[in-house]
C-alpha cells in the first residue's frame, strides 16, 4: 500500500513539471519582439567607365578607348 502511494505521488510530480514547461518556440517569439532588425544596405558597386561612357571595348578597360589612331587600331588613353 505504501509503495502504491509513493508511485502515485511520483507520477503526480512528474506530470506536473512536464505540463508547466514552456515551449522553446514561445520563448523565442517573446525575445525576438525586442530586437530591432535593420534592412541590409545594398553593397556599393564600383565599375570603371571608358571615355565613351561604356565599360571598355575590345578589352581596353577603363581609361582607354579603342580607335584607329597613330598606331592603327589599338587602345588609346582617353
Amino acid at each position: 500500500m505504501r509503495k502504491i502511494a509513493m508511485a502515485v505521488v511520483a507520477g503526480a510530480i512528474l506530470s506536473g513539471s512536464l505540463s508547466s514547461a514552456q515551449t522553446a518556440t514561445a520563448a523565442q517569439v517573446t525575445h525576438d519582439a525586442n530586437v530591432t532588425v535593420y534592412p541590409q544596405a545594398p553593397r556599393p558597386t564600383v565599375q570603371g567607365l571608358d571615355c565613351a561612357g561604356g565599360t571598355g571595348n575590345m578589352g581596353c578597360g577603363p581609361g582607354w578607348f579603342w580607335r584607329d589612331g597613330w598606331r592603327g587600331f589599338a587602345c588609346y588613353p582617353c
Binding site: G59, C60, G61, W64, D68, G69, W70, R71, G72, F73, A74, C75, P77
Partner: protein, 182 residues
C-alpha cells in the same frame, strides 16, 4: 590594363621579310650603292601592320644624298615623312642635323624641344603647324654618318605619342646601322 596594343604587326612583318615580299613599305631588296630606298622603316612595323601606305621613295631629296619616304595613314589625317641623309662622315651628319633643326621654325610653331633616346643627339620638337591646324612633331637624330629627320603630322588635338616617336625612331636607327655597316 596598361596600354594594351595589338602586336600582330611584328609577326606579319617578320613573315613578309622572311619571304622577301614587299607590301606597304616593307622592303627587303639589297640596296645598290647610292640607292638608299630600302633604309626607311615602315611605321607599320609598330602598328596594326596595315595603318600606313608608303609613297614611292624620293632619292636624294633637295639634292642631298639620301632618301625621303612619306607614309600616309589610312584615315588620311596622319602622315609620317621619313628622311635619311647619308653624308660623308659623322661631323657632316651632325652639321646637316643642326641645319635642319634651325629651319624647324618654318614647320613647327611654338615648338617644345625634348630629348629622345634615339641614335646620337636624339631630339623631338613638338608643336603645331604654322597655320595652327595640325599637330607636328619632328624627331631628329644622327647615326654614324647618317642624319635622320622624321616628321609626324596629324590632327591638331591628337599629336603623335612620344613613346611611338621613340619606338619608331629606334627601329629606324637600327635599320640605318644595319644598312650602312653591311
Amino acid at each position: 590594363m596598361n596600354r594594351p596594343l595589338i602586336a600582330i604587326g611584328g609577326v606579319t612583318a617578320a613573315a613578309l621579310l622572311a619571304t622577301g615580299t614587299t607590301i606597304g613599305g616593307f622592303s627587303t631588296a639589297a640596296a645598290q650603292p647610292g640607292d638608299y630606298s630600302t633604309i626607311p622603316v615602315s611605321p607599320n612595323v609598330i602598328t596594326d601592320s596595315a595603318a600606313y601606305t608608303a609613297a614611292a621613295p624620293v632619292l636624294d631629296p633637295n639634292g642631298q644624298p639620301g632618301v625621303t619616304t612619306v607614309y600616309t595613314h589610312r584615315d588620311n589625317t596622319r602622315q609620317i615623312t621619313n628622311t635619311i641623309l647619308v653624308l660623308p662622315d659623322p661631323q657632316a651628319a651632325t652639321a646637316a642635323l643642326s641645319q635642319i633643326q634651325s629651319g624647324l621654325g618654318n614647320q613647327v610653331a611654338n615648338g617644345k624641344t625634348q630629348p629622345a633616346a634615339v641614335g646620337t643627339g636624339g631630339t623631338v620638337v613638338t608643336g603645331l603647324s604654322p597655320d595652327g591646324t595640325k599637330s607636328v612633331s619632328v624627331l631628329l637624330f644622327t647615326e654614324g654618318n647618317a642624319a635622320g629627320s622624321i616628321e609626324f603630322e596629324g590632327p591638331k588635338n591628337d599629336s603623335v605619342p612620344l613613346d611611338m616617336v621613340v619606338d619608331y625612331g629606334q627601329k629606324q636607327d637600327t635599320a640605318i646601322k644595319d644598312s650602312l655597316t653591311s
